[in-house]
Subunit: 103 residues, 2 copies
Amino acid sequence: MSGGQIALGPGKVDLLESIDQEGSISGAARQNQISYRRAWDMVDTMNRCFKKPLVESATGGKGGGGAKLTLLGKKVIAIYREMENKATQATQGEWNALKNHLK
Amino acid sequence: MSGGQIALGPGKVDLLESIDQEGSISGAARQNQISYRRAWDMVDTMNRCFKKPLVESATGGKGGGGAKLTLLGKKVIAIYREMENKATQATQGEWNALKNHLK
């Protein structure tokens, strides 16, 4: 959290990865089955919560825009995925215990 | 996930803890600032996703009902909180790295 807004979460990291693949916020929104508006808002929130932007938009020009990750954007994805991996590994025992009680 | 429904998550575990404290779904709903209907649905989902119920409702009787956790309900809270603790500990380094980049 940063100033009441959620800076990062699974949906935002998925969106960052899609922007990296698609080269645009609109393409990434489609891939994540969310509206362009929602994707744009998520990018805006991330860019405002971090000290430097995670996504750079190139407005205008041939093909009308597009977006790409900054170095920090790529770094944030890597850190987040590493957090997920470590959390999954660390909680394997509890997760198995819980699964035993699920239908 | 179990049959397309989310069996457990932070909101549901908070709700279980509140039911344990309050002795009723309505009291727990108030404490978590959600509607009675929403709390009831969450309990219903948990009870259907697990092999045995996590919450027992006592309908009727003096004072009109109330709800309490089963042994499995208490166990699930303990496992979940342990998962959270272990995940937090395991990801301390990444979390600090991320925080350094947040405003």
